[in-house]
């Protein structure tokens, strides 16, 4: 096969990476643009007989050391690339070979080595297919490839440790020798400044360990995650982020993790210079819980609210309509009223939550996010509409229902 021949050819050179055998797939849904059309011409060109090979072989100009700023970035990449892994959801079918003989490593996403126990952090949606099939904890859900030496990768089966859809994070575990595990250095996201340099390492389109560089373009963005929820506090960057970068690290210029790349805003499906990362402070709160409990406890109320379609049918245009309230819950104790049937069989609307602590709520995802921003035990003030009266209800948050 051509790919194997290529490997042999490259071996004698001081490695154009002897890639690990088990991770090659063709460039799938993407393509490289040229302006050409096959088939090509047999050589019609005649060559130039007026010159010799020596005449037309230019000398190689030497270079000095890289300028300090470039040297720093090159070193940053070299030191941190071993903490970045390829993650491949094993329940996905491999992509078809669409561009001839070119083979590109598998990996529909990226992950980060978190600790020496073999925990790998990635996005929930990277292994979404496996998770939606309901594979339980401790079941293999993905293959993770670690970079062993420059260009050489070793692949391991990864089991699920915990995952949370609303934070779009998942933790996997691989059984790899400690010497191969290089945990990422965790930074802080609370003191980030727009304009500071950041680096993304990931596997866009399967090109593994790709480095892209940009700046922090914005802070505190709402990320529309692929899991269907809104994640707040997102870091926006113009470092090129593409499908395949998900789950990978966003580093600051000291090589510390400041975010996990999760989403892009695009009309074409590829990078348009607007990428979003989940801030590391949120990740640092979530990952230990996922490792310890397999899930995270979300602050909220033990109530069910009406999804948009139902709310529209019941003529509730703004806010969140309460459908049901768990009898023993703090919401019930605070006097929140659910939707119920009247004596005549007609529907009596329950309370509509309009705002949480003065933050107005337009729909159920916004309510969930507003409550989730708190801790369990916090007291919040809900602005509630009941019939034509609007008033406040004070309630203590507990673990949310879903």
């Amino acid at each position: 096969m051509r790919a194997l021949a290529a490997r042999a050819a490259c071996e004698n050179a001081s490695h154009c990476h002897a890639r690990a055998v088990n991770s090659r797939r063709a460039v799938g849904a993407g393509m490289l643009i040229f302006g050409f059309s096959l088939p090509t011409l047999p050589a019609l060109a005649l060559g130039d007989s007026t010159v010799t090979l020596e005449d037309v072989t230019p000398p190689v100009a030497p270079r000095g050391d890289l300028p300090p700023s470039e040297e720093r970035i090159a070193k940053l990449f070299e030191n941190n690339t071993f903490s970045v892994v390829n993650v491949f959801d094993t329940t996905l079918k491999p992509e078809l070979n669409l561009t001839g003989s070119v083979e590109v490593p598998e990996g529909n996403g990226t992950g980060i080595v978190w600790d020496k126990d073999g925990h790998i952090v990635t996005n929930y949606h990277v292994i979404g297919s496996a998770l939606s099939k309901g594979l339980g904890k401790k079941k293999p859900v993905a293959r993770v490839s670690l970079l062993v030496e420059d260009g050489v990768q070793k692949t391991f089966q990864a089991t699920l440790v915990g995952a949370d859809k609303t934070k779009d994070l998942a933790v996997l575990k691989i059984d790899a020798p400690e010497a191969l595990l290089h945990p990422i250095s965790v930074g802080k996201s609370s003191n980030l400044k727009v304009g500071q340099r950041c680096l993304a390492i990931g596997n866009p389109f399967g090109f593994d360990h790709t480095l892209t560089v940009g700046v922090v373009s914005g802070l505190n963005r709402d990320i529309n995650s692929q899991t269907g929820v809104i994640i707040g506090g997102g870091i926006q960057t113009d470092a090129a982020i593409n499908p395949g970068n998900s789950g990978g690290p966003l580093l600051n210029s000291e090589g510390k993790l400041i975010g996990i790349n999760a989403a892009i805003f695009t009309r074409t499906g590829t990078s348009a210079g607007i990428g979003f990362a989940i801030p590391v402070d949120a990740v640092s709160r979530v990952v230990p819980q996922l490792i310890k409990y397999g899930k995270i406890m979300h602050a909220g109320l033990k109530i069910q609210v009406a999804p948009d379609i139902v709310a529209k049918q019941l003529n509730v245009k703004k806010g969140s309509l309460v459908l049901s309230v768990l009898p023993s819950s703090t919401a019930a104790k605070a006097g929140l009223v659910a939707t119920r049937r009247g004596i005549a069989g007609n529907i009596l609307l329950g309370d509509v939550i309009l705002a949480v602590d003065n933050l107005s709520i337009k729909n159920p995802p916004e309510l969930a996010k507003a409550l989730d921003d708190h801790e369990i035990g916090d007291r919040v003030v809900l602005k509630v509409q009941r019939d034509d009266k609007v008033f406040d209800i004070h309630v203590e948050l507990e673990e949310s229902l879903n």
Partner: protein
């Protein structure tokens, strides 16, 4: 470098003009290239001139446009000297009045490239207006398809934008040396827009192949050239 980077234009002569009059032709197919040596050899991508290379009507002419000594823009007819579809390379030749008009590009090497260092992709699609995109080296030793369908090895990946305008032109490092030839960009089918994942053919490969293309016109597509040349001897020592 600006004087080294040229525009490559395909001139399509209208078929109903009896006399061959270049000025009545239509200009099509634009890309970039750069001056290789003082003999007038110009290096570019095969795909930039592939349409003309396959044309049998004799009515297509390649023109190379470059900045002259006094800032003028001069256009020259170019002959095809060598083609290598499997590595997406082509060599043209122009005849200039005096060789001082030509400023060969400074050639570097790709084997000591490091991921993270800056790189600059230059194009000159119209002959008088250089375009520059910048970025870093994103990855090395990538495999990309060539116009012949065979893979090109050792390609440099960069997040500097590569598009039809700078295709065929040089990719430079911070020392102004050519480290690659801007060749392709990765895009989802149908979108046609760049994604920040772009590729250049490595200069070490170009430097081995182009002299043969010039002298012999073609190069065998056996991979003996790659064997001797590719692969940066980087040592990423484990931290």
């Amino acid at each position: 470098t600006t004087r080294s980077v040229v525009a490559i234009q395909d001139l399509d002569l209208s078929s109903n003009v009896a006399a061959v009059d270049m000025d009545d032709g239509e200009i099509q197919g634009i890309g970039s290239g750069f001056v290789w040596d003082r003999f007038g050899h110009i290096v570019t991508n095969y795909h930039v001139i592939s349409k003309i290379a396959k044309d049998t009507s004799g009515k297509k002419q390649i023109k190379v446009v470059l900045l002259g000594l006094n800032g003028d823009v001069d256009s020259y007819n170019a002959a095809i000297i060598g083609l290598d579809a499997s590595r997406d390379l082509a060599v043209l030749k122009i005849e200039v009045p005096e060789s001082s008009v030509l400023r060969p590009a400074v050639i570097g090497s790709s084997k000591d490239l490091r991921v993270g260092q800056n790189c600059y992709a230059i194009g000159n699609p119209y002959g008088y207006e250089h375009i520059l995109t910048t970025g870093v080296v994103s990855g090395l030793c990538r495999q990309i398809p060539s116009p012949s369908g065979k893979p090109i090895f050792g390609a440099i990946q960069t997040d500097a934008s590569i598009n039809a305008g700078n295709s065929g032109g040089p990719l430079l490092d911070s020392f102004g040396r050519v480290i690659g030839i801007n060749t392709a960009t990765f895009t989802r089918r149908g979108s046609g827009t760049s994604s920040g994942v772009n590729f250049a053919v490595a200069i070490d490969l170009v430097r081995q192949v182009v002299p043969h293309l010039i002298v012999e016109g073609a190069v065998s597509s056996s991979r003996s050239v790659e064997r001797g040349v590719l692969g940066p001897p980087r040592y990423l020592s484990l931290p």
